[in-house]
């Protein structure tokens, strides 16, 4: 079947099997591999993307269901070379170690801050409770999101890390 959806503002039309999952559509059909594919059972949340602005687990949405909807992936956080405050926050507060959960964590954080610009620590923890960091770096992920909340219009370039 042929489906069309908008990902990061760009239209993608593809001929796909009706059983194809959104995560595979994004990665394999559109080549946007920033969205990760983890447990495939709605547990780990690394596949989180925004569908019409709300975080969803793309391993549990059929691509056909997402047809006609607006999808935002981690590639859509940076705009014209300017990082999203959430990305800046993850850099400033060391919110990632292996990076596997990071795309999903950042998108959930973006959606949280869109609805609630000044979340409490408990609200941040609730928002990311459907996502697993296999490095167990939750404290720093929470601090990264707090940083983003405190710097809503951060536009400074990412600090270079000493090699």
């Amino acid at each position: 079947m042929q489906i069309t959806m908008t990902i990061n503002g760009e239209q993608y039309t593809r001929e796909v099997e009706s059983r194809m999952l959104l995560t595979h559509f994004i990665r394999d059909e559109c080549g946007l591999t920033g969205t990760h594919w983890g447990c495939d059972t709605s547990n780990c949340g690394t596949c989180a993307v925004l569908m019409d602005g709300e975080p969803v687990k793309s391993c549990t949405v059929l691509a056909a269901t997402a047809a006609g909807h607006q999808i935002r992936t981690v590639e859509g956080l940076e705009v014209d070379g300017v990082l999203d405050p959430v990305q800046e926050g993850f850099s400033a507060e060391h919110g990632l170690q292996c990076g596997f959960c990071t795309p999903g964590m950042m998108l959930t954080a973006r959606a949280l801050l869109d609805h609630n610009p000044n979340p409490s620590e408990a609200e941040i923890r609730e928002a990311i409770s459907g996502q697993i960091c296999r490095c167990t770096g939750y404290a720093m992920i929470v601090r990264s999101i707090e940083w983003a909340a405190a710097h809503p219009s951060a536009v400074e370039p990412v600090q270079e890390v000493n090699a």
């Binding site: 059983r19 989180a48 949405v61 056909a64 269901t65 959930t108 609730e126 928002a127 409770s129 459907g130």
Partner: protein, 251 residues
């Protein structure tokens, strides 16, 4: 269900476009009507449910996680019919009914008769669950208590209680049990409550009946003895909170 290889449909119809039409929570002639495609997050956010049928709010807080709640629907949860699914026992405890629509019209069935077995319901091949109806009572209160191993997991066991009062006496009661086998309610526990005044002794008696009535199986989430203990203890806690809410002592 498909990814778990529990279902292998030859044809798949995407009903997601019906979410607008079948997504609602409204009060209607002494009951609350919830459309089958109402998302978990909207049930959690409902002020009407929080005020009148608090058990829904209690349960929704602990169903899966926010991302799953953004997509999952009440109808999907009920029709998946997982033995550890929460809303089945919530609605059964509240004496709710399911509205099923098919080619020959609509039929209404008690939530207590909705499940045929694990992953099986009375909804036929050409039918669809379209609505859930839950009666409202003046001086009613309800609560749901759940134990799970970690955030987002299914229940080890859970129990819900609904009470409605007349004067100082329990006029009607509902007990819902989740993930402990033996049906989603305990009618013996309910019968023990009706006509009596709420008290710790009465709740302990009902909790014992609920624990005796359930029929859990041992699995990776716990032993039969542990789950039976939870069924009793969680019933007792849910009854305490339901009574406090019915009497206006607790939000």
């Amino acid at each position: 269900m498909m990814k778990l290889r529990l279902a292998a449909p030859e044809y798949l119809i995407d009903i997601d476009p019906l979410a607008g039409e079948l997504g609602y929570i409204r009060e209607h002639e002494g009951e609350v009507r919830i459309g089958a495609m109402t998302r978990h997050r909207d049930i959690l956010a409902s002020e009407l449910l929080a005020r009148r049928l608090t058990m829904f709010t209690d349960a929704e807080r602990l169903i899966a996680d926010p991302l799953v709640r953004n997509r999952g629907t009440i109808g999907g949860a009920l029709c998946q019919a997982d033995p550890a699914e929460d809303l089945s026992s919530v609605i059964a405890a509240l004496h709710g009914r399911a509205v099923i629509r098919g080619p020959s019209g609509e039929r209404e069935i008690s939530m207590r008769e909705f499940h045929v077995g694990p992953y099986e319901t009375v909804v036929g091949p050409a039918e669809m669950l379209v609505e859930v109806r839950v009666p409202l009572h003046e001086s009613g209160g309800s609560a749901y208590e759940k134990v799970k191993r970690r955030a987002g997991d299914w229940a080890v066991a859970a129990a819900g209680a609904a009470l409605w009062m007349s004067g100082g006496t329990i006029e009607g009661a509902g007990i819902g049990l989740t993930a402990v086998g033996g049906g989603v309610t305990s009618e013996r526990a309910e019968a023990a409550l009706v006509g009596n005044q709420p008290s710790e002794e009465l709740f302990a008696q009902a909790a014992t009946l609920a624990a005796e009535h359930c029929d859990p199986v041992a699995d990776q989430r716990g032993s039969v003895e542990y789950k039976r203990h939870l069924a009793g203890e969680l019933t007792r806690r849910a009854l305490r909170r339901a009574a406090a809410r019915a009497l206006g002592e607790e939000a």
